[in-house]
């Protein structure tokens, strides 16, 4: 026995050392494999940070505005407004110490030329509060004083004011619902816990001024309540709730905050899903890479087995290699993810979502690394298992039989996994509009199973494609084309697996794009056929399904109606709700005057004759959109219970609207109904029709001039602009998801480089012979490039085929279930782009391996064993 830890000349003291050495011995493969982990963990971390930031922003918001509030009274999930009298009813509840009502709107700051800024930081959320009531938020005055009633004063968030060079006494010129106003800054405040809304400012005005400027004369958006000493908020909450009845939400700030976090959960799941694709593809690249390593190291592994290594220990060395790569890759992945997070946040902000700067959290880092290690372990598990099963005799005979990849069993297992999970995935993603995160998790799980099925089925699509494309290649370049095709065919398993990484990521892109373009195409068709309006007047960046919006004043409607070129002005009032009446899905309540609106847009109704529908609407009936009606099994003659903060009633269903607006998640009613039930007294949009087609030009000019002068925060969109605005919102969302999936395509590129460099290694002898026979380095490069092209084109084309197949099935399914008006529109330009991308990827991926192959000296190549 010796006291020394190791003998002379030995530095490893366990098989972990061997794992490390073997990683170092294959630097390119190790780097590429780790690269897949870098990308996967990076995207995961980026999205986790994004989600964390969104949640922390909302958490901060609730902590700040309800800092000294015990109970909040509002419409359900803050939708709609309460009648002014509600505050007396609240104050009458025993245990209420103080109740302070508020109304809110969004103003846009004007630049020196009087134009409204379009950025987030040009906007300020303004609340009107009764300044005689106690402060309900945690705001602390740091300069000046609270706004005084009747003076058009505003108190601002200090940081936002500083950003715009405003101080106490400054004049702030803003666009408001009732026109351009100059407000005097009376004071500045801060929230002790900090509140960063990603540029949006906050401000506070006295209630009387606010009512006048916001055109909200007789409602409360929210009432904050403080409890008497000794009264528990929860007790007070149930008392007020009992006093106010249905349709009104009475909640503690904690449940309110939790509710908002829960509403984000379904978005979270979708984001996790798209970011997880890169890791899934990364795990698959690892599987492929380790499979190659095991095959290449057959003799070495056989030797370990012959020296008495148990299978478990051999498998462990492979898994340790994976974990080492995963840990190194994760470190770089975290750095990449931090960068991606700020890009994602910027995109999120451009959708109008208020989000602060990146909120770093240790938990997100740990979760991303854990996901990376898990994906690696799953990817390395099968190769490790196979390595453990290598017969010791392989130490002597080396090599190993290449697995048969197009067996009937594989096809059957692949189909059994693919077909049901594809159906389930389509149903869960698009077959309903539930915002239950569990549905999202189910959809994610079935899509992952679908991916596994696709991986199994990949050889059956990829290999015929390789054969098909090899023929023209050989005709064009007889020698190189032939060699490349042979190489791609001699290792069919590897070729198919490599192409499969591209197949999966691109098929997701294709499905996304096809669904998006079908939505866009169907919406455009509806606008073309049913919308005969000439102008749509709405706030800049208006989104029906977005957060709070500044309303339009009645004065503006009157001003437009008074123009000689105006034929009709119709109001539209939209209220985004998290639970549409009669169901659990989110959507929009739309109010309009049926007769007036009919003269502008010719939306089709079914279920009853037109005049009956219009009369029914005017008399308090409701019209669900066809999609929503179909999902919830609603029919004309049935009833929907409307429960709003201003009233509760059971409304008859008087017709079904053929509209795809907001994915058909719409319930329409009259202006009177939406006002009396939901307290919506201001318009969201004005739709205008010229008195004659000839007057259209002059009308547009007059309206634009009016808006520019008096309402710079609004814009008037022509039919074409409105169409673009609507479809841009759809495209934006899908593009955001596609950008996240894009990183998975990069992983696929790494996979091709990986496979090609293996191919160079395997064909070293062959390349040597070619070089010895006088083949130029250039010719060798071209051979490698051709092989790369074959794999990448087979991957991209099969991705397009698979994506289209899935999209067709899903869209047909959507037509049959949730979106009856939807038609299929192919994203032709994107498909062409992807095909071109396939060629580019193929050429780019070949650069490194081709250089390696071309550098081989003929003699060295021949000596290789």
């Amino acid at each position: 026995m010796s006291g020394r830890r190791r003998p002379a000349g030995a530095r490893v003291s366990s098989l972990t050392g061997l794992s490390l050495r073997s990683l170092r011995a294959r630097p390119l493969r190790s780097v590429l494999t780790a690269g897949a982990i870098v990308l996967g963990v990076g995207m995961m971390f980026g999205v986790l940070l994004l989600v964390g930031t969104i949640h922390s922003t909302f958490g901060q918001l609730f902590d700040s505005i309800y800092g000294k509030t015990d109970v909040v009274v509002s419409g359900r999930q803050s939708a709609g407004a309460l009648p002014a009298s509600t505050i007396q009813r609240v104050r009458a509840v025993p245990g209420v110490k103080a109740a302070s009502g508020s109304i809110a709107s969004i103003f846009r700051i004007l630049d020196s030329s009087g134009k409204a800024g379009r950025t987030a930081s040009a906007q300020v959320y303004v609340v009107g509060v009764d300044v005689s009531q106690p402060e309900m938020s945690s705001a602390e005055n740091v300069a000046g004083h609270a706004p005084v009633e009747g003076t058009d004063e505003i108190r601002l968030d200090r940081d936002w004011a500083a950003e715009h060079n405003l101080s106490v006494g400054s004049s702030l010129r803003v666009s408001t619902p009732t026109g351009v106003r100059a407000l005097r800054v009376s004071g500045l405040y801060t929230f002790p816990g900090g509140l960063n809304l990603g540029g949006y400012g906050t401000g506070e005005m006295a209630i009387g001024d606010a009512r006048r400027i916001m055109d909200k004369p007789a409602t409360w958006d929210e009432i904050s309540v403080q409890a008497n000493a000794g009264v528990r908020p929860e007790t007070l909450r149930s008392r007020i709730s009992a006093a106010l009845g249905r349709g009104v939400e009475v909640a503690t700030p904690a449940t309110k905050s939790q509710e908002s976090q829960e509403q984000l959960a379904s978005l979270d799941v979708i984001l996790y899903f798209f970011s997880g694709i890169a890791l899934f593809v990364g795990g698959f690249l690892i599987l492929n890479s380790f499979n190659m390593t095991v095959l290449q190291r057959m003799r070495e592994i056989g030797t370990l087995r012959a020296l008495g290594a148990p299978p478990r220990r051999v498998a462990r060395t492979i898994l340790i290699e994976g974990v080492l790569l995963a840990l190194v890759g994760s470190v770089f992945g975290l750095a990449l993810g931090a960068g991606l997070a700020s890009l994602l946040l910027r995109a999120m902000k451009s959708f109008g979502m208020p989000v602060a700067g990146v909120h770093y959290s240790l938990g997100a880092g740990i979760a991303a690394v854990a996901a990376g290690v898990l994906a690696t372990l799953l990817g390395a598990a099968w190769p490790a298992f196979k390595a453990g099963r290598v017969a010791p005799v392989r130490a002597l005979i080396g090599g190993g039989e290449k697995p048969h990849v197009t067996s009937a069993r594989r096809a059957i297992v692949g189909l059994v996994l693919f077909v049901p999970s594809m159906a389930a995935g389509g149903l869960l993603w698009f077959g309903n509009q539930s915002n239950d995160p569990l549905v999202g998790i189910g959809a994610t799980a079935s899509t992952m199973v679908m991916f596994v099925g696709m991986v199994l089925l990949a050889p059956f699509v990829v290999l015929p494609l390789v054969r098909l494309m090899a023929a023209p290649l050989q005709r064009a370049m007889p020698a190189e084309g032939r060699l490349a095709a042979d190489a791609a065919r001699t290792s069919p398993g590897r070729t198919a697996a490599t192409a499969a990484t591209l197949l999966i990521s691109l098929s997701v892109v294709v499905v996304n794009a096809t669904v998006a373009s079908s939505f866009v195409g169907s919406v455009e068709r509806e606008i073309d056929s049913a919308f005969s309006r000439d102008l749509t007047v709405q706030p800049i960046g208006y989104q029906e399904a977005g957060g709070p919006q500044p309303g339009l004043s009645t004065r503006l409607r009157d001003q437009i109606a008074a123009l000689p070129q105006t034929g009709v002005v119709a109001s539209r009032r939209s209220l985004f709700v998290h639970n549409l009446p009669g169901g659990g899905s989110q959507g929009v309540l739309v109010g309009y005057d049926p007769y007036q609106y009919r003269r502008v847009d010719k939306v089709q109704y079914t279920g009853a004759p037109l005049q009956e529908v219009l009369r029914g609407l005017a008399q308090g009936g409701v019209v669900p959109a066809k999609s929503y009606a179909q999902q919830r099994n609603l029919h004309v003659g049935g009833r929907l219970r409307l429960e709003g903060p201003s009233g509760v009633r059971s409304a008859p269903i008087v017709g079904i609207a053929e509209t795809l607006e907001l994915g058909g998640q719409v319930v329409q009613m009259s202006l009177g109904t939406i006002a009396s039930v939901y307290g919506m007294h201001t318009d969201s949009q004005l739709v205008v029709k010229a008195s004659s087609p000839a007057a259209r030009g002059a009308l547009t000019q007059r309206v634009n001039a009016l808006l520019e002068k008096e309402y710079p925060g609004l814009e008037a969109l022509s039919q074409a602009e409105f169409k673009k605005h609507t479809t841009d919102l759809i495209n934006q969302q899908f593009s955001f998801f596609n950008a996240i999936v894009g990183i998975a395509v990069l992983v696929g590129v790494l996979g091709i480089i990986n496979t090609l460099s293996m191919s160079v290694l395997e064909r070293t002898r062959e390349i040597g012979v070619l070089r010895a026979l006088g083949a130029s380095r250039w010719r060798i490069r071209r051979t490698m490039a051709n092989e790369s092209l074959l794999i990448s084109l087979a991957g991209t084309l099969s991705g397009i085929i698979a994506g289209l197949a899935i999209a067709v099935v899903w869209i047909l399914g959507m037509r049959a279930t949730s979106f009856p008006e939807m038609s299929m529109y192919l994203p032709v330009s994107l498909l062409v782009t992807i095909a071109v991308l396939g060629v580019v990827i193929g050429v780019l991926a070949a650069i490194l391996p081709a250089r390696r192959a071309a550098k081989l000296q003929p003699l060295a190549a021949l000596r290789y064993e």
Binding site: S2, R5, P7, G302, T303, R305, G308, A309, P310, V393
Partner: protein, 258 residues
Amino acid sequence: MSSAETVPALEAQGLCRSFGEGVSAVNALRGVDLRVADREFLAIMGPSGSGKSTLLHILGALDRPSAGSTSIHGRRYDDLDDRALTRLRGEVFGFIFQFFNLLPTLTAAENVLLPALVAGEPPSRYAQRTDELLSLVGLSDRAAHLPSEMSGGEQQRVAIARALLRRPEVLLADEPTGNLDSAAGANVLGLLRKLVDDGQTAVMVTHDGAAAALADRVVFLRDGKIFSEIPGGDGARISRELSRPPAAPIGVTAREAA
């Protein structure tokens, strides 16, 4: 010849091994009986396809017989499960390969230490043994070198040291000189002979008559059966045995076996 009373180091009885099934089946071994005494150096010779490598694989627990039994110092091991066979390979046998099979990423000393590492034993317990073995094979000064920095002969000597690390009961060598020039080959054979003289039991497969001449005993395999057996040391007789024509047509042998 060893006496019937003493337990042989290695014993095989009625070994058969066939590969594949049906018409395409190949019978590599057709009933081989073999005894190797303690401290004996046995050489197995035969033309390619005679089954000598298959025999060595089965003796070394790398493969299992289709029929027949094997035992080491009286303990049967043909019927053991995988886990037990794996242990046997690590603790009881030491294997030397024609192509050395050193791990290219490990130094000489690390390669010698490898059987301890794969068994999960602490390397400290084998530190001194590794030094001694490297000195025994004359490579103390090469301990920190990688296989790629060593000659074939040196690599094979590292492989021998590796095979000896855990003091195997039997050393098995598959064409240990097959990939070496004659000087290096002679050196390796001299080393093996010395090990046996110091008490090691060894079985070697070779097609090199000069190599076999160093063994204590040579058995000749032909068509999966032991064809003849002579004492070692007589190079001329070995060459004669090797060039003898088959005793009977292959078909007859096959029928006899069946």
